[in-house]
């Protein structure tokens, strides 16, 4: 009797799990399908190799090269900045603060709060920071704002990886005479290279796809920026502007832009995976 009930239970939960997995897969396919269906006809070589002609609202000619380049500049710059700030923090809370559990938990809690803050708030914060510092909408302002946005993600993603480093490995490093910083950068970092790359990738993906934080800070332009102080176009905003255009052809171009953005993110993930696979070999599996 009991065994039979368990078998039925097992079956029901299995069906539920399969169903949930399939729903998610289906939704994902649907998104990709609609981007492909609407975007592919408008996607042309012209689209990815030229800057817009006739303005971003009404322009049916030209392309979105300005936004492609702008988004890459912006997200790579912001990710780099966030990494430089984030790596020491993530290592510090896991190595130097190893015996200060309460402080570490408080830091984690605040980072999680920051992670949850909507990106438009970061945009507004960046905007007021710009006014305070006297900078105009520019690539630099955008990089700084997006860096603020992704720093909590970057730190927490790396933190989760460093947390898994076994205590024995840390003690091994200590007993060989390593200082805390040597243990952090030479042992923890090396052990976690694949995870750190995943953290960078996660932040890059978040940074390249966000529209609200760059709206006030980076601006928009038809040109490819040549310096940090110029306004810069980004793909999410170009999607936004094209989609809000009254002209159907331009609206369709929004889906082509979305397709380009998706492909860029796909390329980033794939190459990151390949790189992290290469560094996997030194990792010790405990």
């Amino acid at each position: 009797m009991m065994i039979k009930r368990k078998k039925i239970e097992e079956k029901i939960f299995k069906v539920l799990m399969v169903l949930a997995t399939m729903t998610i897969a289906f939704a994902l396919m649907l998104i990709i399908y609609s981007i492909l269906y609407k975007g592919l006809p408008s996607l042309s070589w012209e689209m990815i190799s030229q800057t817009p002609k006739g303005g971003f609202y009404f322009g049916k000619e030209g392309g979105i090269l300005n936004a492609i380049i702008g988004s890459l500049y912006l997200s790579i710059g912001a990710t780099f900045l966030a990494f430089i700030v984030g790596l020491p923090v993530a290592l510090y809370i896991n190595v130097h603060l190893v015996k200060r559990k309460k402080i570490v938990n408080a830091i984690r809690f605040f980072l999680d709060l920051l992670w949850g803050v909507p990106s438009i708030v970061y945009g507004a914060f960046g905007f007021s920071l710009m006014i305070y510092m006297g900078i105009r909408t520019s690539l630099l302002a955008g990089i700084i704002t997006v860096a603020f946005l992704i720093i909590p993600i970057m730190i927490r993603a790396m933190d989760e990886v460093f947390k898994e480093v076994p205590r024995g490995l840390m003690e091994a490093a200590f007993s060989l005479g390593s200082t805390k910083s040597e243990t952090a950068y030479k042992i923890f970092f090396r052990q976690c290279v694949p995870g750190v790359i995943t953290a960078i990738l996660l932040s890059l993906g978040r940074g390249i796809g966000d529209a609200a934080s760059v709206m006030f800070t980076t601006g928009y332009t038809d040109h490819i920026p040549t310096s940090l102080t110029q306004p810069t176009a980004t793909l999410p905003l170009s999607i936004f502007f094209q989609l809000s255009s009254p002209i159907p052809e331009v609206q369709n171009r929004a889906y082509a832009s979305a397709l380009v953005l998706t492909i860029i993110i796909l390329i980033i993930s794939l190459s990151a995976r390949m790189i992290s696979g290469k560094y996997q070999k030194n990792k010790i599996n405990f």
Binding site: S175, L176, F286
Partner: protein
């Protein structure tokens, strides 16, 4: 015996939070001998070992009092460089923790961080210590491979080589054979017997037979206290305390 004492533990008490882990520990550890800290699981042997190179520093809420003299210097009081203290001791833990790098770099790591980076010097030292840990024959043609490619037994010998490479005076070993197969365990034990002419070895174990095989000196602990200590022969053949007799007859394990 007194002038050959390497480590002198004096009235050491240790508590974590409200838990009193080590109670009034007084132990003398002779130089260039194998001292086995013996006792059932959870009696504080490992904690006592970790006091010796101050790995206890990295635990929360831990409170250590008393004195531990190594070369007549109180390491619990000294504000000196803790990395220097730790370099005097090689550590083998319950399971091997090789560093996430190549076999070669594992052995060279300790030397590199003390600023000795000359390639020829490192090559010689790495070969020397791998030979000392009886690992050279198995690894000389694959030094650039990651340490993770070695078997567990080989990894433990690599950890020994790596620990010896920083030129310690003391080897601390925390149940170093507990994750190993019988042959690898035997290899480690034989290494210890060979190495005791150069190093002071402190070995923690709960395996009575292992203690009988290799110990020169025994410290028997039970529930955070040292019950009996002394030369292995008299400890095994002529135990003085009731608890020791009970333990040796297998009453608790």
């Amino acid at each position: 015996m007194n002038n050959h004492t390497k480590i002198n533990i004096n009235n050491v008490n240790l508590s974590i939070g409200k838990q009193h882990i080590l109670k009034n520990i007084n132990v003398e550890i002779p130089e260039k001998k194998i001292t086995v800290i013996l006792g059932p699981s959870g009696c504080g042997k490992t904690t006592l070992l970790k006091c010796l190179n101050r790995l206890t520093d990295s635990y929360e809420d831990i409170n250590v009092s008393g004195n531990i003299f190594i070369n007549n210097k109180d390491i619990l009081k000294s504000n000196g460089d803790i990395t220097e203290l730790r370099k005097k001791m090689g550590l083998l833990s319950q399971r091997p923790y090789p560093l996430p790098m190549s076999i070669y770099d594992n052995v060279a790591y300790g030397l590199k961080i003390s600023g000795r980076k000359k390639k020829r010097f490192l090559n010689k030292r790495v070969e020397h210590y791998l030979k000392q840990a009886s690992l050279w024959e198995e690894t000389y043609d694959r030094l650039k491979e990651p340490a993770s490619s070695l078997s567990i037994g080989q990894q433990q010998r690599l950890c020994l080589a790596r620990g010896l490479a920083v030129d310690p005076e003391i080897i601390l070993a925390d149940e170093p054979t507990s994750a190993l197969d019988p042959l690898s365990s035997q290899a480690i034990e034989e290494k210890f017997i060979h190495l005791k002419q150069y190093y002071t070895i402190v070995l923690v174990t709960h395996i009575l037979r292992q203690a009988k095989r290799i110990a020169d000196n025994i410290v028997f602990m039970y529930l955070g206290e040292v019950i009996e200590q002394g030369p292995a022969e008299s400890f095994f053949n002529n135990p003085k305390m009731e608890k020791t007799k009970a333990y040796l007859s297998g009453a608790f394990n």
